[in-house]
C-alpha cells in the first residue's frame, strides 16, 4: 500500500476513538448527527484495529519458530475473517444510515474517512470531492482528496488538491512541501521547484519552533494497514503466502483472507499436525524452555515418522538451543531434502551456516532459495544481510531491492535506509537519492530520513531540495542539531553567511560538541567581519577536533590490533592471538566482549585459570549468558566441578527463560 504525505487534521480517527465509549450509535431510523457520524467512524476504526491485531498474530505464528504454530495460523486467519466481516458490516450499516440522512459535507467527510481506512480509495476520493463541492471552504476536504489521489497514484490531481488546501490553510507549511512532492511525481519539475522554493521561503528558521509545535511532531499522516516504524527490521510473510499478502497491500482484504485460508492448508506447519503427538510435545517442551525434554520427544517423533520434514526442522532448533551446532545443521539439511519446498528450513540453515562461519555455504543456500522461492522477501533480505557481511555491496543492494519490492509487512524504512546507505558508499548517488526518497515517502514523520536525504542532495549540488528536506526534518524534530548544522553548511557553501551563522548557532545551542556546526558558525562569522567571535568559535572547533582526532587514532590502533589478531586466528597462531587481544584490552577496558574473546583464546590454549579470570571480568561488565557456558567448561577443565556445575545451571536456566519468553510472545 503506497504512502501519501498529507498534513494531519485534528478532527479524525485517532482522537475520536474516545467518543465510541461515550456516544452510542443512534438507531437506524433516527436522524444522524455529525457527532454520531464521527462516532461511527471511530467504531469502524476499532474494527480495523481488531483486524490488524489478528494480522499481527498471524505474522508471529507464520514464523513457525517452535513448529506448533499451525493451529495458531488457522485461528489467526479465522480471526481475520471474522474481524473483516464485522468491519464491513459496520461500514454497510453506516452507508445505510447515511442513505436515509441528508448529507452535508460533514457526512461525506466521515464516510470518506471510513473508506480511506478500509482502503477503498476510489470511493473515498468520491466522498471527499463531494464534500469539497458542498463546502469549498473546507481545507480538509481538499487535503484528503490529495491523500486519496496520491494513494491512487494520481499525483497531478493530488497536487491540485494540495494547492487548494494550501490556499485555504496557508499556515500549514507542510502542505506546500507535499504539493511540491506530488508535482515532482507528476513529472512537472519546474512547478515542483517553484513550489519547493515557496515552501522554503514560508519557513524561516525563526518560525521553526512555532510551526513544529503546531505540527506536533507528525506533520504528515500515513494511511496504511500497518505502521512503518523507523528502526524496525523488515518482516516478510513466507513465500507460500506472498500472493495473499500482496492482495492485502492492494486493498483486496476479502480476497486476501480467502486466499490465506487456502494456503494455510498447504503450510508444513499444518501438515499432519496432531496435538499430543511427539512433535507437538517436543514443540511444547521447547516453548517451555525445556530443551532436553524437547530433544527426547523430537527424536522419538523422528523414529516413528522419519520422513516428516517438519520434525527435523524443529529438532534442529532444539539442537541449536543445546549448542549442538553441527547436528542442527545436519537436521536442517535433512528437512530440506525431505521437503524442498520448506522455506523456513532453508532460512534457518543459512543462519546456522553463517553462525558457524561458513558464509560461502550460507550464500549458496540462500541463492538456491531465491530461485526456489522468488517471492520470498525474507530470503532476499537475509541474502542481502549476508552479502553485506561479506562486503559484497552490489550483491547486497540488489538483494535488498528485490526484498523491498516484495512488500514487507513492516521495516520498509529500515530497508530503504540500508539501500540508500549502500548506494552512497558505492557512489551511486542517483540510486541513493531514489532509495532515500522512498524512505521519506514511507516514513514522512521520520526527521532523520529527511535529513539523510537532504545530505545527499547537498552533496549532489541540489541545494533547494536539500534545504527543503532539512526544513521538513526540523518541522518534525525542531531539536535536531545535526539538521541545523546541515543548513549551516549549505548556506556557507552558498555564501549566505548571515543564514549560515543563524542555523549554525542554533545547532551549537542544541549540541555544543557538534564540530561541523562550530566550524560553520566560526567560518560564517569571520566572513561577516565578526572576527573575534569567529576566531573564538574556530578555536572551540579546534579543541573538539583535537579530541576527536585522539579518539579516532585510538580507534584505528584498536582496529589494527584486532585485525592482526584475526589474521593470526586464521593462521591458527593462538598464542599470537592472545597476545594481540591482551594489547587490545586497555583500549576498551569496559568492553565485556574484549575479555570474552581473550578468555576464549586462552581456553583454547589450555590456560584455563587465565581464561576464568577474563570470563569473570566479562561477567562483571554484564556480558551475555554464553560466558557462563565458557566458565562452566573452563572450571571443569580445572577440576572445579562445583563451580562448573553452578555456571552450567545459570547458563541453562538463562536459555530456558529466553525460550519461554520467546514462546510466550509467539
Amino acid at each position: 500500500m503506497s504512502l501519501s504525505m498529507v498534513p494531519r487534521l485534528n478532527r479524525l480517527l485517532g482522537s475520536l476513538l474516545a467518543l465510541v465509549v461515550t456516544v452510542p450509535v443512534a438507531p437506524l431510523a433516527a436522524q444522524l448527527t455529525p457527532e454520531e457520524a464521527w462516532a461511527t467512524v471511530a467504531e469502524a476504526n476499532q474494527r480495523k484495529q481488531i483486524f490488524v491485531g489478528a494480522l499481527r498474530q498471524l505474522t508471529v505464528a507464520l514464523a513457525g519458530t517452535f513448529g506448533d504454530e499451525g493451529p495458531r495460523v488457522r485461528s489467526s486467519i479465522e480471526s481475520l475473517d471474522a474481524a473483516l466481516a464485522e468491519w464491513d458490516r459496520s461500514i454497510l450499516a453506516f452507508e445505510a444510515r447515511l442513505r436515509q440522512a441528508s448529507r452535508p459535507a460533514e457526512f461525506h467527510m466521515a464516510l470518506g474517512a471510513v473508506y480511506l481506512d478500509r482502503d477503498r480509495m476510489e470511493e473515498a476520493l468520491r466522498e471527499f470531492i463531494e464534500a469539497s463541492r458542498l463546502d469549498p471552504s473546507r481545507a480538509d476536504a481538499h487535503t484528503f482528496q490529495a491523500l486519496s489521489s496520491a494513494l491512487l497514484n494520481k499525483p497531478t490531481v493530488a497536487a491540485q488538491a494540495l494547492a487548494k488546501a494550501s490556499s485555504l490553510n496557508p499556515g500549514n507549511r507542510a502542505l506546500l512541501y507535499s504539493e511540491a512532492r506530488q508535482l515532482a511525481l507528476a513529472g512537472q519539475p519546474d512547478q515542483a521547484g517553484e513550489t519547493l522554493r515557496r515552501f522554503i521561503q514560508s519557513l524561516p528558521l525563526q518560525s521553526i519552533d512555532r510551526s513544529a509545535s503546531e505540527a506536533g511532531g507528525a506533520p504528515f499522516e500515513r494511511v496504511a494497514l500497518l505502521r512503518q516504524v523507523a528502526g524496525v527490521a523488515p518482516i516478510f510473510p513466507p513465500a507460500l503466502y506472498a500472493d495473499a499478502f500482496k492482495l492485502l497491500t492492494q486493498g483486496a482484504y476479502r480476497e486476501a483472507v480467502d486466499r490465506m485460508k487456502q494456503l494455510a492448508a498447504r503450510d508444513p506447519l499444518n501438515d499432519g499436525w496432531s496435538q499430543g503427538d511427539e512433535l507437538a510435545r517436543g514443540s511444547a517442551a521447547l516453548r517451555n524452555g525445556d530443551v532436553q525434554s524437547a530433544l527426547a520427544h523430537l527424536k522419538a517423533a523422528i523414529e516413528s515418522a522419519p520422513s516428516r520434514a517438519e520434525t527435523h526442522r524443529i529438532l534442529a532448533v532444539a539442537y541449536r538451543e543445546n549448542d549442538q551446532r553441527d547436528k542442527s545443521i545436519e537436521e536442517l539439511r535433512t528437512a530440506i531434502r525431505l521437503n524442498p519446498r520448506d522455506e523456513r528450513a532453508r532460512i534457518s540453515l543459512a543462519d546456522a551456516l553463517n553462525a558457524a562461519g561458513q558464509d560461502g555455504d550460507a550464500e549458496r543456500v540462500l541463492r538456491e532459495a531465491t530461485e526456489s522461492f522468488p517471492a520470498a522477501g525474507q530470503v532476499h533480505y537475509n541474502l542481502g544481510r549476508l552479502y553485506r557481511l561479506m562486503a559484497k555491496n552490489l550483491d547486497a543492494v540488489h538483494a535488498f531491492e528485490r526484498a523491498a519490492a516484495l512488500n514487507p509487512l513492516v521495516g520498509l524504512d529500515n530497508l530503504y535506509e540500508t539501500i540508500g546507505a549502500i548506494h552512497v558508499v558505492e557512489g551511486n548517488f542517483d540510486s541513493a537519492m531514489d532509495a532515500l526518497q522512498k524512505r521519506v515517502d514511507v516514513s514522512p514523520n521520520n526527521a532523520e530520513a529527511h535529513r539523510k536525504l537532504g545530505e545527499v542532495y547537498l552533496q549532489q549540488n541540489r541545494a533547494d531540495e536539500a534545504l527543503g528536506e532539512f526544513l521538513v526534518a526540523l518541522l518534525v524534530d525542531p531539536r535536531s542539531a545535526q539538521t541545523y548544522a546541515g543548513i549551516g553548511q549549505l548556506q556557507l557553501q552558498r555564501g549566505k553567511y548571515v543564514e549560515a551563522a543563524e542555523a549554525s548557532r542554533r545547532a551549537v545551542a542544541l549540541d555544543p560538541a557538534l564540530r561541523a556546526a562550530r566550524y560553520s558558525l566560526g567560518s560564517a562569522l569571520l566572513r561577516l567581519g565578526r572576527t573575534e567571535e569567529g576566531r573564538k568559535e574556530i578555536f572551540e572547533f579546534e579543541q573538539l577536533q583535537a579530541e576527536a582526532r585522539a579518539r579516532e587514532e585510538r580507534e584505528w590502533e584498536l582496529r589494527l590490533i584486532r585485525q592482526a589478531a584475526s589474521v593470526s586466528l586464521d593462521k591458527g597462531d593462538y598464542e599470537q592471538v592472545a597476545e594481540q587481544l591482551r594489547k587490545a584490552i586497555p583500549y576498551s577496558p569496559d568492553d565485556a566482549t574484549a575479555y570474552v574473546s581473550l578468555g576464549a583464546v586462552l581456553k583454547r590454549l589450555g590456560r584455563h585459570a587465565e581464561a576464568v579470570e577474563n570470563f569473570n571480568k566479562a561477567l562483571d561488565l554484564k556480558a551475555g549468558v554464553d560466558v557462563h557456558r565458557l566458565l562452566a567448561e573452563s572450571y571443569e577443565a580445572l577440576g572445579r566441578l562445583e563451580d562448573s556445575q553452578r555456571h552450567r545451571e545459570i547458563y541453562t536456566r538463562a536459555k530456558e527463560e529466553r525460550l519461554r519468553a520467546l514462546g510466550g510472545s509467539r
Binding site: 562486503a391 558505492e426 557512489g427 549540488n461 541545494a463 592482526a564 584475526s566
Partner: protein, 570 residues
C-alpha cells in the same frame, strides 16, 4: 522537388550541420572560436619517452609502492626548450628490481622527440625510494638545479651547466631522511636566493602495519601512522642550507604532507605556503615577513571542507580561476570526497567553492593526485587538469564500483563553472591509468600548454595540445638580477582591454611535480598585450606595454624584454 521541399531540405541540412558542429546551445563540445575541438594527443612513444616507473609492488603492500612517482618540466640546458625529468621508485622487497630503478632525464630535441641523457647527466637513482622532485636555480648561476625526494635520503643535484649534475646533498646540508614527498623552492626571506621546503608524509620508523581484512591485504591508510614533520631549509647563499623548520614556525607532527605549493595568496609580496595533508587538516602558512610563518588554514577556510571534515589532500595548485586578481586554491582528494576548490575572498579568507563551481559532482567518483591550473584553450581564463588513480590495486574488493586505473580530468572554465570535458578532448584524456604527477608546459613552443603525466608502475604520458594555439597567447620567461635568477615568486599581471590575468612563478606544485617556469597567458583573439606588470621578489615592479602576442619573451629584471622568439609553427 518543390520550392517548399527544397527549403525544407535546406533547413534540415542546417540543423544537421549545427548538431554535427556541436554549436547547439548548452553543448559540451569545446571548440575554439572557429575550429574543431582541442585534443590532447598521446605522443609519448613517438617522443621517445620510454621511462617505466618501478613501483616495487609486493604482497607486503609497502605504502611507498602506491605513492609515486613524480615528474617535471625544466629547461636544464637553457636552450629555450622544455626537457623532462622523471623520478623512479625502487623496491623494498626485491633488491634486484631496486637496483634497476633509475631516474630519467630527457632532453628536448626540438623536433617533437626527446633524447635520454640520463647517463650523461650524472643523475643516478638515489639511495632511497624515489618520490618527487622540484627544480630551482638555488645558486643563481643561471642553471636550474634539481631536488629529488624519496623515502630515505633525498638528494640535491647541482646543474654544472655542461649537461651534467653533481650530487651536493651532503655539502649543502639538505639530505633529509624520511618519507619525503613534494618539494618546492621559494625565496621566503626575499634575500635573492631560493630556499627549499620539503613535505614529509608519515613516520614509518616503527615499522609498517598490516592493513586490509582477513582475505586481502591492502595498502594502509595514513590514519594508522603518525605524521612526519616537514622541513624548511633556508639558503645561506654559499651553496649551503640551514634547517630553519622550527624557528620559522613550520614544524608540526600533525601533518601528513603530500602536495605543496607556494603562492602569495594575500598579495603582500611575500610567498606563503600551502601543504595538502592526507586525512588531517591542510596547512596554510602565512609568511609574516620576519623569517617566520603562521599557520592559518582553519581561519582562512582551507584546512578542511565545509562539512568540517579533513580530506585526503593529495595534490594542490594556486591559480586565479575567477579572474579577480587573487590566487585561488585547488586540492585533490579521495574518491567520494570530491576535490576542493577554495575561492580567495581577500582579507585572508577563502570560500569553499567546490559546489558552486560544479567541481564536486564532476570529481566525486575519482581519486585525485596531480592538479594544475592552465589555460589549455588560450581563451584567457584558467582551466583545470587533474590526474587520477586509486591507491589500492585491489580497491574493488572493498568497494565494488571503485577502480584502480582511472581517467584524468580536464575541466574547462566557463565563467567560474568548471565543466568536465576530458572525454571530448582526445585520446590523452581517455587513458585510464594509475596517474600521479601532472605538469603543464609548452614542449613544442607553439603557444599552447602540453601535459606530462606520470603513472604508478608504468610509463609516463606526454600529451601534446593540438588546437589550443588557434587562439593567441604569450609566454613569458623572466630572469632575475636582484631577485633569484629564475624569478621564482614573481607575480605577473597581464592586461588586455578590461581583462587582467595574474600568474605567479612557482617551483614545485601539484603532486611530486613542477610545471614550466615560463608563464603562459592565453589571449583569445587579442593580438597585443596592453600591459604586463612584473612584481619581482626583490620588490621591484617592471611594467611593459604593447607586447605583440604569439611569442616567447624573455624579461630581465630592470631591463625589460631582452629576447623575443615567435611561436614555432606546427
Amino acid at each position: 522537388m518543390t520550392a517548399t521541399g527544397t527549403r525544407a531540405r535546406l533547413v534540415l541540412s542546417c540543423i544537421v550541420a549545427i548538431v554535427l558542429l556541436g554549436l547547439q546551445p548548452g553543448s559540451n563540445a569545446q571548440t575554439t572560436a572557429d575550429g574543431p575541438p582541442i585534443l590532447f594527443e598521446d605522443i609519448t612513444q613517438q617522443a621517445g619517452i620510454d621511462f617505466r616507473h618501478t613501483n616495487g609492488a609486493s604482497p607486503d603492500k609497502h605504502i611507498v609502492e602506491t605513492m609515486g612517482s613524480g615528474g617535471l618540466f625544466l629547461d636544464y640546458d637553457n636552450d629555450g626548450w622544455l626537457d623532462v625529468f622523471l623520478v623512479d621508485g625502487g623496491s623494498l622487497a626485491d633488491p634486484q628490481a631496486a637496483a634497476r630503478a633509475r631516474h630519467r632525464l630527457y632532453r628536448n630535441r626540438r623536433n617533437g622527440t626527446f633524447e635520454d641523457v640520463t647517463a650523461a647527466s650524472g643523475i643516478v637513482r638515489g639511495r632511497g625510494f624515489g618520490m618527487g622532485a622540484c627544480a630551482g636555480d638555488y645558486d643563481n648561476d643561471g642553471w636550474i638545479d634539481l631536488y629529488v625526494t624519496s623515502d630515505g635520503p633525498s638528494d640535491l643535484y647541482r646543474n654544472d651547466g655542461r649537461g651534467s649534475f653533481t650530487n651536493v646533498t651532503q655539502s649543502a646540508g639538505v639530505g633529509w631522511v624520511g618519507l619525503s614527498t613534494s618539494c618546492a623552492f621559494a625565496d621566503i626571506d626575499r634575500d635573492g636566493d631560493l630556499d627549499l621546503f620539503v613535505a614529509n608524509y608519515v613516520d614509518l620508523t616503527g615499522g609498517e602495519k598490516y592493513c586490509g581484512d582477513n582475505r586481502v591485504r591492502a595498502y594502509c591508510r595514513p590514519d594508522v601512522y603518525k605524521g612526519a614533520p616537514n622541513v624548511l631549509y633556508r639558503n645561506n647563499g654559499n651553496g649551503t642550507f640551514t634547517d630553519v623548520t622550527k624557528q620559522a614556525g613550520v614544524y608540526s607532527t600533525a601533518g601528513k604532507g603530500l602536495g605543496v605549493v607556494f603562492g602569495d595568496y594575500d598579495d603582500d609580496g611575500l610567498p606563503d605556503l600551502f601543504v595538502a595533508n592526507d586525512l588531517v587538516p591542510n596547512f596554510l602558512y602565512h609568511n609574516e615577513g620576519t623569517g617566520r610563518f603562521r599557520e592559518v588554514a582553519l581561519l582562512a577556510g582551507v584546512a578542511i571542507a565545509s562539512d568540517a571534515k579533513p580530506r585526503a589532500g593529495m595534490g594542490t595548485d594556486f591559480g586565479d580561476y575567477d579572474g579577480d586578481g587573487r590566487l585561488d586554491l585547488v586540492v585533490t582528494n579521495f574518491e567520494l570526497e570530491s576535490h576542493n576548490l577554495f575561492r580567495n575572498l581577500g582579507g585572508g579568507l577563502f570560500a569553499d567553492a567546490t559546489a558552486e563551481s560544479g567541481l564536486n559532482v564532476a570529481t566525486i567518483p575519482f581519486l585525485g593526485f596531480g592538479a594544475v591550473f592552465l589555460d589549455y584553450d588560450n581563451d584567457g581564463d584558467l582551466d583545470l587538469a587533474i590526474a587520477n588513480g586509486h591507491v589500492l590495486d585491489n580497491t574493488s574488493h572493498f568497494r565494488a564500483n571503485s577502480r584502480y586505473a582511472q581517467r584524468n580530468l580536464l575541466l574547462r572554465n566557463d565563467g567560474g563553472r568548471l565543466r568536465e570535458i576530458g572525454l571530448l578532448s582526445g585520446k590523452g584524456f581517455a587513458l585510464e591509468k594509475v596517474s600521479r604527477a601532472l605538469a603543464a608546459g609548452d614542449i613544442d613552443n607553439d603557444g599552447d600548454l602540453d601535459l606530462l603525466v606520470t603513472n604508478n608502475g608504468e610509463g609516463a604520458d606526454l600529451l601534446r595540445n593540438d588546437g589550443g594555439q588557434r587562439n593567441n597567447a604569450l609566454v613569458v620567461k623572466v630572469v632575475g638580477k636582484q631577485s633569484n635568477r629564475q624569478g621564482v615568486g614573481a607575480r605577473l599581471r597581464l592586461v588586455v582591454g578590461s581583462k587582467a590575468q595574474i600568474r605567479e612563478i612557482k617551483s614545485g606544485s601539484g603532486y611530486l611535480s613542477q610545471s614550466d617556469l615560463r608563464q603562459h597567458f592565453g589571449l583569445g583573439r587579442a593580438t597585443e598585450v596592453d600591459r604586463l606588470e612584473i612584481r619581482w621578489p626583490s620588490g621591484r615592479i617592471d611594467v611593459l606595454q604593447k607586447i605583440a602576442a604569439n611569442s616567447v619573451i624573455t624579461v630581465v629584471e630592470g631591463e625589460g624584454v631582452t629576447a623575443r622568439t615567435p611561436f614555432a609553427a606546427r
